[in-house]
Amino acid sequence: MGLVPTPSIARTHVMNEPAIELRGLQHRYDTDLVLRGVDLRIEHGEVFGFLGHNGAGKTTAMNILTTLITPTAGTAAVCGYDVVTERSEVTRRIGYLPADVRMYGHMSALENLEFLAKLSGLPDARAAAMEALEFLGCADLAKRRVGTFSTGMRQRIGIAQAIVHRPHVLLLDEPTSGLDPMGVRQLRNTITQLNAELGMTVFMNTHLLSEVSKVCTTIGVLNHGELIYNDSIENTTLRFPDESSLEDIYVRVGGPTP
């Protein structure tokens, strides 16, 4: 299939900088401080699992990385570009899958993807949309209206829209929510495929620790807005040899049971 590895948009600059870098990142909703000076560095090619209980600040961090909100203090950069001052460069390099992906229900999957691909500035948006659908093995959904889709189908189309412009960094917010076991397995394979074949860096907010251990190369644990743990899966299992699962490790490092 025709999807090629992530294209070179100022590739040299991109590869010299970390895929994602957060420095002293803070965010406040009114009086509620939800991110308390998070420092994090994620290298290219990693699949990063961002763990934390509900309300820990994971989605807020993702909203900052997607440029949807502006941090109260600190900085966040994607491929070396600041999310506030270089928004346009950042949005060219990210693909985003929200937790509850919904699109125009009256439009077909292909029409939705074509519209978003055009906004991404792709010269042949329709071909790019079709390629993304074929890559994910859901070309059969192209002509169907999104309003008729199941949760699993919507999730696949959601991933297609996130990769249609071949981003360097894929931001997935609770990608397994609402999926059945088959859907979860399919998603896991897709993430692995996107990382291995297209070289995309994946940043994933999740609750499913079993999936994290199968897919992620590094993890970070956020607790009440503070990053309390950050290491590779390999090192994590070495550091906690007595714990039988990632869930046990998660509880050990301070996060409450999800």
Binding site: L68, E111, L119
Partner: protein
């Protein structure tokens, strides 16, 4: 297939085309155009019917006078301006047209908040101003399409009833619909602005309707409705404008959009005593100022809108 820099015009065009497709698929365009065309047809029929009745009654009176051997004057109603056939449109546009425009503006701006598409759109390299301009363009085009249909139907009705239509009247007809379009754009922008200011969809639409009620019914009561002499005889000079409370209500006149629209529209259609071009232009001015101000407010508000959260549609 590398992402290239997207030109502002291309983004505006893409957003506008997508919204036009949404209007078409959700039958908003059909409902909007059909309603305004039906209203135009109704105005034409009512205008023709009342004119025809008056002329016939006068002709019968002339026949009676002639039978009694009395001289009868020429029928003055035949001297009425040909465009007076559409005089009811001056009432229908602020009542029905403005409500349709509110709905169009609200739908254009609110849907992306409710269905979560705003989050996907604003994680693309586009500016919020471009997005807002695309939405405005789609609403403006829809209203223009509807009014173009009304213009064509009015033209046909006038040709059927009057047999002929001269150049100046054609220009006046076009001018009337251009003014009506500007007036409806104001309400489409009010629909957009309330959708951006109020997150709950139902409340946003209700607020837009509240604004429409104030503009259409409340403000006129503060202006001409408070001048008893003018209410009794609209041709006489307003009395006591320089005294007490009427000084305040007189100040409110420029912001009474609907009165400005009615004055200008009636003047263009020549259904009221002749006014100067400057007076007509002055009546049009509040509508144009309101449209420009509201467009700027929409562009300002969208910069601050939080698209990371979905709006509630309850």
């Amino acid at each position: 297939m590398t992402a290239t820099s997207t030109s502002g015009r291309a983004v505006i065009g893409t957003v506008s085309a997508q919204q036009a497709l949404t209007f078409r698929r959700q039958r908003v365009r059909l409902i909007g155009v059909a309603t305004l065309i039906m209203v135009t047809a109704m105005a034409g029929i009512l205008g023709w019917s009342s004119h025809h009745t008056i002329v016939r009654v006068f002709d019968q009176a002339v026949q009676l006078q002639a039978a009694a051997g009395n001289p009868a004057p020429a029928n003055p109603f035949l001297l009425k301006p040909s465009l007076s056939l559409l005089s009811n449109m001056v009432v229908y546009i602020p009542l029905i047209g403005a409500l349709i425009a509110l709905m169009v503006g609200h739908l254009a701006m609110a849907e992306d908040q409710t269905n979560g598409m705003g989050r996907l759109i604003f994680t693309r390299p586009i500016a919020r101003t471009q997005y807002a301009l695309g939405k405005i363009l789609s609403a403006v085009r829809l209203l223009a399409t509807a009014l173009a249909g009304c213009w064509a139907l009015s033209l046909v009705a006038l040709l059927i009833v009057n047999r002929t239509l001269n150049g100046p009247d054609l220009a006046r007809l076009t001018g009337f619909y251009a003014l009506s379009w500007a007036y409806l754009v104001v309400f489409a922008l009010i629909g957009m602005l309330t959708a951006l200011l109020i997150r709950r969809r139902s409340l946003a639409l209700l607020s837009a309707i509240a604004v429409w009620i104030v503009v259409t019914f409340v403000l006129p009561q503060f202006v001409s409705g408070l001048r008893p002499t003018q209410s009794l005889n609209p041709l006489s000079e307003p009395a006591g404008l320089s005294q007490g409370f009427f000084r305040i209500t007189h100040l409110a006149q420029p912001i009474s959009l609907v009165e400005g629209y009615k004055d200008a529209a009636s003047s263009i259609l020549r259904t009221t005593p002749a006014t100067t071009a400057a007076e007509t232009a002055l009546s049009v001015l509040p509508t144009l100022i309101a449209a420009a101000t509201l467009a700027l407010l929409v562009l300002w508000r969208i910069q601050r809108h939080d698209y990371s959260r979905s709006a509630s549609d309850e």
